[in-house]
Symmetry: C2
Subunit: 359 residues, 2 copies
């Protein structure tokens, strides 16, 4: 599958709009995910943007409006690089669909996530030049991608609180893993909001609106909201998602695989989300009655997940592995996936379970 430069081991949910997820084996290769393996979640066709014609408009509750070309952005502000994990709010929806169907939503597995090194400028520096007015409280982003599913049809967008927008980790990025951003990942410029659901890292960015209220567009005011189990989608219904949830997965060996009995190395990731970090990862072979602690591997900074590994001794037979990550507030993942079911299938962060057959 050469489409958009992606490897052929990605799992395709949809070709138009293009939606593909990364397989566990590819996520296991490195804590920084290769660009050609990185998941893509889009709501519209990949727009064709001519970088020479492109401008970023900054307006709304600001002292002065800005219209910035790519070369001005690159020359007038300090370049910054940040390694950050992105995770779609619909990651692991398949686990919820297995409990009760969610019509119209793609059955994403656990690969709607990945970690990359992003290069660009701090949104904070651009906002400082524009000068937010006292009433400013949110910063909205709009991309060039027209999304047929939205009612009314509109371009993709969303906002984050001004307080977050002014933190140094929020980037306007033109490069991913040291290479220019590819069209499918938002070229020429995208937002990267570490610690937030992927939907806030708006691609093909061309408009920043400083506002007094959160984004009122479809992708924040109607969807990407957590409804109660018996709730219905509608403007302002449910709670807006924003901070991404604590999550983890087993990346190797693959679920359902056959391994040699004896010592087996398990590897996976854990991701704290928000402004938290991963404090501990536990693994259980007896359904949670007892736990061993995994070793946390390379630390790529406070916005990146942690890969982990642990060696367990497997007697011949069937085994179920359960994992729970803990964040720096001593919160851990929910036990019961069924209790997380919601009408749009967001935020499945239940403790992951895989089955292994040891011979």
């Amino acid at each position: 599958m050469a489409r958009y430069g992606k490897r052929d081991d990605l799992i395709v949910h949809e070709l138009e709009p293009f939606n593909v997820e990364t397989c566990s084996a590819a996520l296991a290769e490195d804590a920084v995910t290769a660009t050609d393996a990185f998941y893509v979640r889009g709501h519209g066709a990949v727009p064709e943007v001519d970088p020479r014609e492109w401008h970023l408009r900054v307006h709304g509750l600001v002292e002065r409006e800005l219209t910035l070309s790519l070369s001005t952005l690159r020359e007038a502000f300090r370049e910054r690089t940040e390694t950050a994990t992105l995770q779609c709010a619909g990651n692991r929806r398949a686990g919820l669909i297995a409990i009760r169907d969610i019509p119209g939503e793609a059955p994403w597995g656990a690969g709607a996530t990945g970690t990359a090194t992003w290069t660009g400028v701090a949104l904070a520096d651009v906002l400082a030049l524009a000068g937010p007015l006292p009433r400013a409280a949110h910063v909205g982003f709009e991309g060039a991608d027209l999304c047929p599913e939205a009612r009314p049809q509109q371009r993709f967008g969303g906002s984050v609180p001004l307080d977050k927008a002014c933190r140094p980790e929020v980037l306007l990025a033109w490069a991913m893993n040291g290479e220019p951003l590819t069209p499918v990942h938002g070229a020429p410029l995208r937002v990267v909001v570490p610690g937030y659901i992927g939907a806030r890292s708006v691609k093909w960015l061309d408009r920043i609106e400083v506002r007094s209220t959160p984004w009122q567009g479809y992708f924040q005011h109607v969807v990407y909201r957590l409804l109660p189990e018996d709730g219905s989608v509608g403007p302002g219904e449910g709670m807006p998602l924003g901070l991404v949830a604590l999550n983890s997965d087993v990346l190797s060996p693959p679920d359902g695989s056959t391994v040699d009995a004896g010592p087996v190395e398990l590897r996976g990731y854990a991701f704290a989300g928000g402004e938290r970090h991963v404090a501990r990862v536990d693994v259980s072979l007896d359904g949670g009655a007892s736990w061993v602690q995994a070793e946390l591997l390379d630390d790529h900074g406070r916005w990146a997940w942690r890969h982990w590994r642990v060696s367990v001794d497997l007697a011949p037979g069937e085994h179920e592995v359960v994992v729970r990550a803990w964040d720096s507030s001593a919160a851990t993942q929910p036990e019961d996936e069924a209790a997380l079911w919601n009408p749009k299938g967001y935020v499945n962060n239940a403790r992951p379970r895989i089955r292994l057959h040891a011979v």
Copy 2:
């Protein structure tokens, strides 16, 4: 009980050091807890500090050391007021002790928490005057209270990351609920670190040390750490607590009480902790099979809990009420209290349950 000006309906765990918790009825009175009902958690005798002799020393990794009198603090910096909830990491330990004993630790109920309006100056403003050096990464606080339980014996202390210390909500406070701080609450000056466990809001503060590493004293490096179920207390063992956990409680009617059948109003609190806010509170009368949403009451700002209320219809008979709060990352409280047991009995934030008898 006139001791330290506290009301006589507080629950006394220890007289020396003085440790008292607030009863549910007092917490239900107002979202801002009265000072004479506010819980006290101390590890040493209340020190006698003469405010005329008292000075605050700021030293360590700073460009210039400071020695500030109370009058200089009040005159040289802008006064700020913040409503913030404090919660002890040992709150609700009694629920864990009921599962398995925790020798040597007081069986705190759900009243080791409260919300007050604090007045003082921003720690950030004082740090800006001192000028943290590039290697600075943590800000340590030490009180005047000598704590016999510590090994070696030492004054109470702890630290928070420099990043948090520079946020405007962290106060050096001399007033609580509009009155001068009382001796038992830390007069003449205490730290208030909203969103962190109560132990970081060091009372009787007289030394601030800007450091490259977290506090190495007993109350951060040995205790106030979450151990695995089979872990043992020791220097650096377990994960340091810091950000306080999402929690909630039913404040009225009291657990075990008899009420009139028919519509019954339930009231309680929910507290998100960290930099999060309460997004939703659900109440179930059928053990979690179905939930109704409670109404969130007055918003006292992002560092205060939310009181909530909901009317439920109770048929004559026995009822169990279960509550779960959700924070702005769509995280909710753990179901299973037993799974939270840990050797020091910290961070019990399981969904609260009360029993009511309707006649």
